[in-house]
């Protein structure tokens, strides 16, 4: 493989491209210099010594690395589906740097993704924002340093089916889901109060340690951003109601297909939204949707992003963003913000990525045509100044770790990663007879 795969921060000079900064306009014939993994300079006619790799971007478009706010790429486990509240589990524990879909995401210009727990539980596990350092074998190198903690919540049919139908326990209905949240937050408060009492000398014996309740207390304290899988307007309003009662306001609604119905309410609450461009009607709760969702939310002042939730869609998020121009007439900058700065804001990492500015991380995607053009094909994807994808050095077999007892079937099976992974690990629960 022709890439330097050992270092995690690099130097590269991207020369003479059309630079789409997102925050400072579009600059033609401009260079971007990355040093030690950070953007050092953006300007014309920059020069470097022989030690720096140079990419000739003449005729090409240079934009910030794409950020996917809803993904399950690169993790070995998606759902711990045995309980309706599993706030304590953490998908960052199961990052798999050998997962080839990470490389495919890089080939789609994506440098950062939000590796998420699935939607089987009302309160699912904590998620991790990862940098696509494909080539590194130590999973800890994927963790994006200082990225805020995030957690997955889920409303609607998924938790009701897994726990209500599948196990006969609450939640069986949407009102049940509301009570699961209220009970969980109340227990988190109780737990926090008990520890406060012990720590201030008000009790002799420490309360029993409970990682789940501790995590709920952390959510109440504003230490964790909630990302909530949601579709219907009624449940979206319900959750904002519950959060209001407990003083929590860090929330990004995911999918939020009926978000267009409650856009002003979302904006007023300060909630953000991460949507599909045009994916709906695969379940009854996703029936009432529109391709104008992203545009309507944007025009109503809601920070909106477009995500993939799929190992397939992640490879062409730039096309997904382009759809918002046909359905909603978003400007080039508004459309590209949906896959760069806005998801960065939703993940709390907008001080580090999401635009090309001096001082930010050297995450860059280079295209042969304007990224919103149907003819766009990513050429290079750079993460922290290291070229992690180069279309000219793209061997057929990009695997890093081979199973020595691998069998070779006569046909190649459909890769499960390409499918919608939100309910992975859960089907046995649904079809297991009770």
């Amino acid at each position: 493989m022709g890439m330097s795969l050992s270092a995690q921060q690099g130097d590269v000079l991207i020369k003479n491209g059309t630079v789409i900064t997102i925050t400072d306009g579009v600059k033609e014939n401009t260079d971007v210099l990355i040093r030690n993994g950070k953007i050092k300079q953006i300007g014309e006619g920059l020069s470097v010594g022989d030690d720096v790799k140079v990419i000739d971007a003449d005729g090409m478009y240079v934009m910030p690395g794409i950020i996917d706010a809803h993904s399950h790429v690169g993790i070995d486990v998606v759902n711990e589906a045995t309980a309706p509240v599993t706030a304590e589990v953490f998908v960052g524990d199961v990052i798999n740097p050998y997962s080839v879909p990470i490389y495919r995401a890089l080939a789609g210009g994506v440098s950062v993704s939000h590796a998420m727990h699935g939607s089987a539980n009302a309160i699912g596990g904590q998620c991790e924002t990862i940098k696509h350092h494909y080539g590194e074998e130590d999973p800890t190198t994927y963790q994006m340093k200082d990225a805020p903690r995030t957690i997955k919540f889920a409303l609607g049919e998924n938790p009701m089916r897994v726990h209500g139908e599948g196990n006969g326990i609450q939640p069986k209905t949407r009102m049940g889901i509301e009570q699961v949240f209220r009970k969980a937050f109340a227990e988190g408060q109780e737990y926090q109060n008990a520890w406060k009492k012990y720590n201030s000398g008000g009790a002799q014996v420490a309360p029993e340690y409970n990682l789940r309740k501790q995590t709920l207390a952390d959510i109440l304290n504003g230490d964790i951003i909630i990302h909530c899988h949601s579709y219907r307007a009624d449940e979206i309003l319900m959750l904002m109601d519950v959060l209001g009662d407990y003083g929590v306001n860090k929330i990004c609604f995911q999918h939020v297909n009926e978000g267009f119905k409650v856009a002003p309410e979302l904006a007023a609450f300060g909630a953000t939204a991460s949507v599909f461009a045009d994916w709906w009607a695969y379940k009854f709760e996703v029936y009432y949707s529109t391709a104008y969702n992203a545009a309507i939310l944007t025009k109503n002042g809601v920070v909106t992003s477009i995500n993939s939730d799929s190992g397939e869609l992640i490879r062409h998020l730039y096309h997904e963003a382009g759809k918002s121009q046909k359905y909603g007439d978003l400007t080039d900058n508004e459309a590209l913000r949906l896959i760069t700065l806005n998801p960065a804001i939703q993940l709390g990492i907008d001080d580090k990525v999401g635009s090309l500015e001096v001082g930010k991380d050297g995450d860059v995607a280079v295209f042969n045509n304007h990224p919103l053009s149907i003819y766009a094909v990513p050429q290079y994807t750079i993460v922290d100044g290291i070229v992690r994808f180069d279309i000219n050095e793209d061997p057929d077999d990009m695997r890093l770790d081979i199973n020595p007892d691998e069998s070779f079937p006569a046909f190649h099976e459909l890769n499960a990663h390409d499918e919608h992974r939100c309910m992975e690990g859960v089907y046995e629960f649904l079809f297991h007879q009770h």
Binding site: A83, T86, V94, P139, V205, D397
Partner: protein
């Protein structure tokens, strides 16, 4: 040895003193003494030296030109455990979100001492391979239970047991019954929670014992209580970590929680060498290896041979633009394409990396022992030789079997080398252990002798080129291979100077002979038989003695060989 006053006629051992004379004594890896005698008495090594005076009551074993090693020590194993019932409750009434600890795989209180069976087959199986001591752990899920050290001998669990409950065997395996925790992420957060709960409970218990007045009393939880020895670092956790990511995740837990960890049953430790070194973490590598690449290669070569014949048909039909699927006499078959070839090459490369794990660790100065939890006793020697072929030195291999596990298990004062005062655990081989054809003649465990016969290779009877034999008639034959006996009949007819005939056996239909060559009383019969959907050549090589014969059968160019004997039916 127990004595009793029941005055029964149980036969005691004649003597507990042995003298192994004039051998090559490998005291420790890299240090061999020639013409040296080892005297053991009452389970301990009394003396090691030359020109020793032999005690009057010693059984003398002449070990000239033989090699004596310290008995092997298994760093991790499941040897000597009786069959356990499945403790996981598949009971539908179990709450999936709040199962009893046993259902979740949380059984750190389980002690292997209650599961020892002195008659268990593996004990003899591994003793035959030279193992004398083993670290035995229970089978289980995320916290399987406590391990103990045992001798691979003894008539009762009490006699076997050397040191009890000296480790916790843990892993990232989720529950069997799909109850919480059912995934790796559930297991990792449960590990964190249980550990912290144990730390707090231990503190609470101490506080309560010191001054209980008015204090909330501790709740009794046997799983949590059994973890106190782990949180206080009195015993280490042997963390099962076969693949790189398992090891990486286990080390993440170790870093956060601080327990003493031994990386156990690793197959890819070479990928995390830096972190192992940083933490000074002991390593117990798996003795199990993937199937060797060359077995696969032989199959491929056969396929290519076959294809050679078939290719000619293709060329007649069109050359370059032939279809990827071809019609063969066995049906429609896919032609091997270059992508498959490349995938197989990468898989073989990966096999080689696994084989070289031990050699890589040696190169990087990391001492390791062996785990046999997923290895068959019969594969031990084979796999060690494969590791040596991949670059492991003999000294490092011996250290992994003796001095290193003694160190990791805290036995360095009493085991691992052939020195005065240590346990009389010894292996005696007829030549250096690292010779492919070496045989283990004796294994001493806890001072008791176990002797092994050497299987002689059956010598072929010499043929006589001047003898005259009459093969015509019906012969009853017996083919023996791998402990299996197959009966059959051979029909022979003489036509002129040549013989024709056929063979029928219990396992094959009547097969006509292709050729019968007679040279004196040496007879070679060639035929072809159906096997695995293809044709395989069979060669029968025998020496005929009047109405009897004996010899060998070779099937498919050496893929299978067997002995054969036959006798003519009186008619």
């Amino acid at each position: 040895m127990s004595s009793s006053i029941y005055c029964q006629n149980d036969v005691p051992d004649v003597t507990s003193t042995f003298a192994l004379t004039n051998a090559n004594v490998v005291v420790r890896p890299g240090s061999t003494l020639k013409n040296t005698t080892v005297i053991i008495k009452d389970g301990y090594i009394q003396q090691v030296g030359s020109n020793l005076s032999i005690p009057f009551d010693a059984e003398v074993i002449k070990a000239d030109s033989m090699f004596i090693y310290a008995g092997f020590i298994a760093g991790l194993s499941h040897i000597g455990l009786n069959k356990e019932e499945d403790k996981t409750d598949d009971n539908e009434k179990v709450k999936r979100y709040d199962p009893p600890p046993a259902a979740a795989g949380i059984t750190p209180d389980v002690s292997v001492t209650e599961m020892l069976d002195s008659k268990q087959k593996l004990i003899e199986g591994y003793r035959k391979e030279g193992f004398t001591l083993a670290h035995v752990v229970p089978k289980g899920r995320m916290m399987a239970g406590k391990g103990s050290l045992i001798f691979l001998s003894g008539d009762s669990p009490a006699e076997m047991l050397l040191l009890e409950d000296m480790s916790l065997y843990g892993s990232l395996l989720a529950s069997k019954g799909r109850v919480y925790p059912s995934t790796t992420i559930g297991v990792m957060s449960k590990w964190r929670e249980l550990y912290k709960q144990a730390e707090l409970a231990s503190q609470h218990e101490k506080k309560f014992m010191a001054n209980p007045k008015g204090m909330e009393r501790p709740t009794y939880d046997k799983s949590i209580k059994s973890l106190y020895v782990v949180t206080s670092k009195s015993i280490p956790v042997f963390f099962d970590a076969p693949k790189t990511l398992d090891l990486s995740r286990a080390m993440t837990l170790q870093k956060e929680l601080g327990f003493d960890m031994v990386a156990a049953n690793t197959k890819q430790a070479y990928k995390t060498i830096d972190r192992l070194k940083q933490n000074n973490m002991p390593v117990v590598i798996s003795l199990e290896l993937p199937k060797a690449a060359k077995d696969e290669k032989k199959k491929d070569e056969k396929k290519d041979e076959k294809k050679g014949d078939e290719k000619k048909d293709d060329e007649l039909e069109g050359g370059e633009n032939v279809a990827k699927i071809e019609r063969t006499k066995d049906g429609m078959k896919k032609k091997e394409d270059p992508e498959m070839k490349a995938l197989k090459e990468r898989a073989n490369k990966s096999k080689k990396e696994y084989e070289a794990q031990a050699a890589n660790l040696e190169q990087d100065g990391i001492a390791f022992s062996f785990s046999v939890t997923d290895t068959k006793a019969g594969d031990v020697k084979k796999n060690i030789m494969r590791m040596i072929k991949s670059g492991l030195s003999e000294d490092a291999a011996l250290a992994a079997l003796t001095t290193n596990p003694a160190q990791v298990l805290g036995l360095q004062q009493v085991a691992g080398t052939v020195e005065k005062g240590k346990f009389a655990n010894l292996i005696v081989t007829d030549t250096t252990y690292f010779n492919e054809n070496a045989n283990i003649r004796y294994v001493f465990v806890d001072g008791k002798k176990h002797e092994f016969e050497v299987k002689e290779k059956k010598k072929q009877k010499e043929g006589d080129p001047d003898a005259v034999v009459d093969l015509a008639g019906t012969w009853t034959v017996m083919i023996s291979a791998d402990g299996m006996d197959i009966g059959g009949t051979i029909e022979m007819e003489k036509s002129g100077d040549d013989y024709t005939g056929s063979m029928t056996t219990d396992m094959s239909d009547k097969t006509e002979f292709d050729t019968v060559e007679v040279d004196g009383n040496n007879v070679t019969i060639k035929m072809t038989t159906e096997m695995n959907g293809g044709q395989a050549p069979v060669v029968v090589d025998i020496v005929v003695d009047d109405e009897e014969f004996e010899g060998s059968v070779n099937i498919a160019n050496g893929m299978m060989t067997a002995d054969v004997t036959g006798s003519k039916d009186p008619n």
